[in-house]
Every structure is written in structure tokens, then in C-alpha cells.
Amino acid sequence: MSAGIGEARIRVPDRISRGDVILVNAIISHPMDTGFFRTAEGNPIPAYFISTVVVTYGAEEIARFDWTSGISRDPVVSFTLRADKEGPLTMVWTDNKGGTFKQSVNIAFTAA
């Protein structure tokens, strides 16, 4: 399980025209431990969760999410994007232990 921590995917529509407001779906593998649980042996499981997500489009930061361990394991998030230029859409997830995980998808327009 832990081997997959930080594996992330971003999904956007196959066909995008300039000016479309598209739906972006993202998922990252992460345990999102609250710190309230214990192992079967009774040892506390420390809090371990994604605390910040930064979204950039081209060179511009367009969104930033502040999360707590109240987001479910393997966090999903979707949001919209006005596709007004071609370029990378990048997301960087940072966890409370300093781990950072990055994924990008290229926004390119379909020829009419």
C-alpha cells in the first residue's frame, strides 16, 4: 500500500476547444491518517495527510486547496477550468510530513 503513496492522475476531456469550461478530475494515493486511530497492536497511527494542493495553468497559479485529514483516503477532487490557452495544467500535493507529489496534463485544443 505505502509503495503507492503519491501516485496521482489528472483527467481532462479528450476533446477541448478554446474557451471551453472543462471538468478536471484528480486523484492521489495517500492514507490521509487522522492521528485518531491505533494499529491492531495498540500503537497510535500518527497524522499523515495531504495539507495543500496547488494548481497551476501555464505559469499562473489558479487555485490552492487547504486540506485536513478530514478528506477521505486517496483524495479525489474535481473542479472546472476555463481552457483559454494551451499549456500544462500542473498539480502539486504537499503532505504534513513535507512530501510533495506532482502531476501534469497538457491542455491542447482539438483542431476544428
Binding site: 495553468y57 486547496f65 474535481s78 473542479f79 472546472t80
Partner: protein
């Protein structure tokens, strides 16, 4: 989805019939969306912590009900994974936009569960995710605009399996 949004903006309630299996739930949400500005139906602030969160975020500005739709199941059988959809019909233009969306779960250990800081580049406000819930409680989706307005929607969710430990 976008066709639906513009339709919502133009004629509100009539769209409910088009939404298939979710129609009843959606129509309740839409009524809330179109509803009056604040008032007796708003959930009471349950404790000092939530009061402090609201005060820190919004000061003394009124939190009015409207322009926001918080979609959650009425019953969450597994509190570890509860879907949330937050939408708003407020504009996302450079001169006027939603700059923050706050998700507050009254009776969770950490009630201010998430904040989504947005810019006009998103084109609209339509955010979905999945959250953990400890027990039955009100959930608040509160948005703040670049002009300082604060709008909200609320959902009461019955939780049968504690998802927070």
C-alpha cells in the same frame, strides 16, 4: 454540465425534472439555492469552535443563504467516504469572482475541513471531493466573493458509521 449551469441561471427550478434519478434531491437543493437570504432555517452555530472559525473567516459580515448549492447524501452509511459537491452560480470574472469556498463540518474533530482558494481562471464554481464524517451533523458550504459577500448552503447528513475514529 455547463449547459445545465446556464440553464440553472436562466430558469432555476424547472431543470429539476431533467436530472433523472437525482431529481428529487436536486429539486430540494435548487429550492435552497433560490431561497431567501438567511433566516430561521439556517442551522444554529453549535459550539465555540465553529463560532470562532466563522468569526475568523468572515468577521461580522452576514452569511446569507443563496447562490451556493451543497449536495450531499441525506444518509451517509460509511462516514469514511461521504461525497460532497459544491456549486455556485456566482460569476467568475476578473472584476468579480468567488475567491474562497469553505467546507465546515460542525461535529467533526477538525470542523474547518477544507478551504478551496479560487481564481477566475476556473470559469465556474463546481468542486467535488469525498470527506470523512464522525457523526450526524450539519455541514456548511460557505463562499466568499472578491467583493466581500458571503453566501452559504447547508446540508444535514445522517452518519451511521463513524469515519473519524
Amino acid at each position: 454540465m455547463l449547459a445545465r449551469r446556464s440553464f440553472l441561471q436562466s430558469c432555476g427550478l424547472a431543470v429539476a425534472a431533467l436530472l433523472g434519478s437525482g431529481a428529487i434531491f436536486r429539486s430540494e437543493r435548487l429550492l435552497a439555492w433560490a431561497g431567501a437570504a438567511g433566516g430561521p432555517e439556517d442551522p444554529e452555530v453549535p459550539n465555540e469552535e465553529v463560532a470562532r472559525i466563522l468569526k475568523n473567516l468572515f468577521g461580522n459580515r452576514p452569511i446569507r443563504k443563496g447562490h451556493v448549492s451543497l449536495d450531499m447524501p441525506a444518509v451517509a452509511e460509511d462516514g469514511r467516504v461521504v461525497p460532497v459537491i459544491i456549486e455556485s452560480d456566482l460569476p467568475m470574472r476578473p472584476d468579480q469572482h468567488v475567491k474562497g469556498v469553505h467546507l465546515i463540518v460542525d461535529h467533526n474533530p477538525d470542523p474547518h475541513l477544507a478551504a478551496f482558494h479560487l481564481t477566475p481562471a476556473l470559469g465556474s464554481v463546481s468542486i467535488s471531493t469525498r470527506i470523512k464524517m464522525k457523526r450526524t451533523t450539519w455541514v456548511r458550504a460557505i463562499v466568499e466573493t472578491s467583493t466581500g459577500e458571503v453566501w452559504a448552503d447547508y446540508a444535514r447528513v445522517l452518519v451511521t458509521l463513524n469515519g473519524c475514529g
